[in-house]
């Protein structure tokens, strides 16, 4: 079923129509084969991002002045949800890419916006977001990748270390990297935009994951990578604050993607339940099964409402950190439950690779883990609720 959407403008309606058309013509016909192939032999659908980029879907939540679409999060996220309902890996990629432009767009100088942001928002480029490390996941303050001044007149830096779980690694045009510039714990982090062609930048082998195979994830290894001084975004020591603020927005991207994934699992289950005959009638005629479908619909509708509430707070310039964490928690848990139930509705067929239910189930699992585990979301939420 096509999701019912309240949108704030005519162009937003047209944008959703455009997204659906691209999903139907370019994404849905390819997703099954591409994910199955990438599970065996890593491959990244860079050409799909070219199509999205040309259509202007890789820069929606940023200012038109710098090449963005000037769209509120309320609209941008519903585009991400639509993409996720067709191809989850690509929706995650769109969310990640959008996040990579966040530091320059929010704290960059006008010169940096001209030099870096216009390219990031052009639709031609794809970014990677480098925060986690092998020993610094949820505890980002413990990161050890370090930038040291190279002593040159241009205030250049040299970065050494490694980042883990990096989407688009090896395919990205630039790497928005959070690294240590002093030993002052969480206050000692800074943000750099490292060009993909930088000397000394190499990548580990693609991770062998449970799902989201077309989201290529690798280690990024900085082996004495030189970075110009004008690629330091914000001030020295501002990195942690930038990363945490960016994560609030990134969580909404993942929440929206998880909602789209849940919607497609629900659609699959509902359509199967109406077609599958047992005891001379569709299995949907059994109330026990129909009520499962009802619970799935309620979960998807609730998830959508949760991320849109947080998005509208953000668009209004209000605090939304707690609501973003709530949305990430609700939407990804909904995706896990709905995809699990979708397999149940499809029965034995759902357990086979002949239907996409088992793929969606595998894709849902990671949404409870990345962009802050759902335990971290509960930490964020409880601190907000219990403070003072």
């Amino acid at each position: 079923m096509v999701a019912t959407r309240l949108l704030p403008s005519e162009e937003a309606h047209d944008l959703i129509d455009l997204t659906r058309e691209i999903c139907d013509k370019e994404l849905r016909p390819r997703v099954d084969a591409a994910e199955a192939a990438a599970a065996v032999d890593p491959q990244f659908p860079r050409d799909v991002y070219k199509i999205l980029g040309r259509a202007g879907l890789l820069s929606l939540p940023y200012a038109e002045e710098w090449g963005g679409g000037g769209q509120p999060y309320e609209v941008y996220l519903q585009v991400v949800e639509e993409i996720a309902s067709a191809w989850m890996s690509v929706a995650v990629g769109v969310s990640v890419h959008s996040l990579t432009a966040y530091p320059v767009a929010t704290v960059g100088t006008d010169a940096q916006k001209q030099a870096l942001l216009t390219g990031m928002l052009s639709g031609d480029q794809l970014g990677a977001y480098c925060l986690s490390e092998p020993l610094a996941g949820s505890d980002i303050g413990s990161m050890t990748t370090r930038a040291t001044p190279d002593g040159s007149a241009g205030d250049g830096w040299t970065i050494k270390g490694r980042k883990a779980w990096i989407s688009h690694a090896g395919h990205a045009d630039y790497y928005t990297s959070f690294v240590r510039t002093s030993d002052d714990g969480g206050r000692g982090l800074s943000c750099f935009v490292v060009p993909g062609v930088a000397a000394g930048l190499t990548f580990g082998a693609p991770e062998r994951k449970m799902g989201l195979h077309c989201d290529t994830v690798r280690e990024v290894i900085y082996d004495t990578v030189p970075v110009d001084g004008d690629r330091l975004v914000g001030t020295e020591g501002q990195g942690m604050a930038i990363a945490l603020a960016a994560l609030d927005s990134g969580r909404l991207g993942i929440a929206a993607a998880a909602t789209g994934l849940a919607q497609s699992a629900l659609d699959l289950a509902a359509s199967y339940a109406k077609d599958r005959m047992q005891f001379g009638r569709p299995i949907a005629d059994n109330q026990g099964l129909a009520f499962m479908v009802a619970d799935m619909e309620a979960a998807v509708t609730g998830a959508r409402a949760a991320y849109l509430h947080a998005a509208r707070l953000k668009d209004a310039g209000r605090a939304f950190s707690k609501e973003a964490a709530v949305a990430k928690l609700l939407c990804t848990d909904a995706a896990m439950r709905v995809t699990t139930d979708a397999i149940q509705v499809l029965g034995g067929a759902g357990y086979t690779q002949d239907f996409p239910a088992e793929r969606m189930f595998r894709e849902a699992k990671v949404t409870q883990i990345f962009e802050g585990t759902n335990q971290i979301q509960r930490l964020v939420i409880s601190r907000h609720v219990l403070k003072g």
Binding site: E11, D14, L15, L18, I22, K25, I51, A55, G56
Partner: protein
Amino acid sequence: MNIVVCVKYVPDAQSDRTFNESDNTTDRVGVDGLLSELDEYAVEEALKLVEAGEGEVTVVTVGPDQAADALKKALQMGADKAVHVKDDAIHGSDAVATSLVLAEAIKKIGSPDLVITGMASTDGTMSVVPAMLAERLGLPQVTFASELSIDGSTVTIRRDGDAASETIVATLPALVSVTDQINEPRFPSFKGIMAAKKKPVEEWALADLGVDASQVGLEAAWSKVESFTKRPPREQGQIVTDDGDGGTKLAEFLYAQKFV
């Protein structure tokens, strides 16, 4: 080079398509509609020609209020301006009347160097409007183009037939209908969506074109749908029980149906 592209708003083939019970015409109001996919190729070809040189692309449609969506899509793809001919009297028009209205609209738009149409609409699929329109405009008609090139004052197309491919040359101005082999229509972009909102869309009635209402509509149509019957639901196929001779029975079935 100034190009006029004729486009049509058609019921979405993905949805249920129906006829009006009252007059047996296609229901265009109560169903989801869109720019005929075959017309996207015409729009794309026009945009490519203008982008390679200069001039502008005007899209024109004849249809009810909802047909504005077809024009909007063409404008979002990159067409420069649009003309929407709408008039209650046009309802039920056949291809003869449609070609008359389109011809008068194109004359009013100006004298384009090229008129491009799709090879057919995806609803009526008659393919006759391009030929009728060329006749009314006094233009050479070069139809079913799977390739198109312009050189000075001539247009050259390739038309792929069952037995041979023809190369056909005509002098400009001319009318060309294009097939779905000629190009890969672009998606609109979000910038295109925003730009389309500011592009001019003119709305003309029959009176603006000097066409008398008696020349169009269901009453003037040369042919009418007398009645229609819904396609019967698909019947269950024949089930053969395999008692060890399934292969033979299958072969017998295929032979009886003249498949082998």
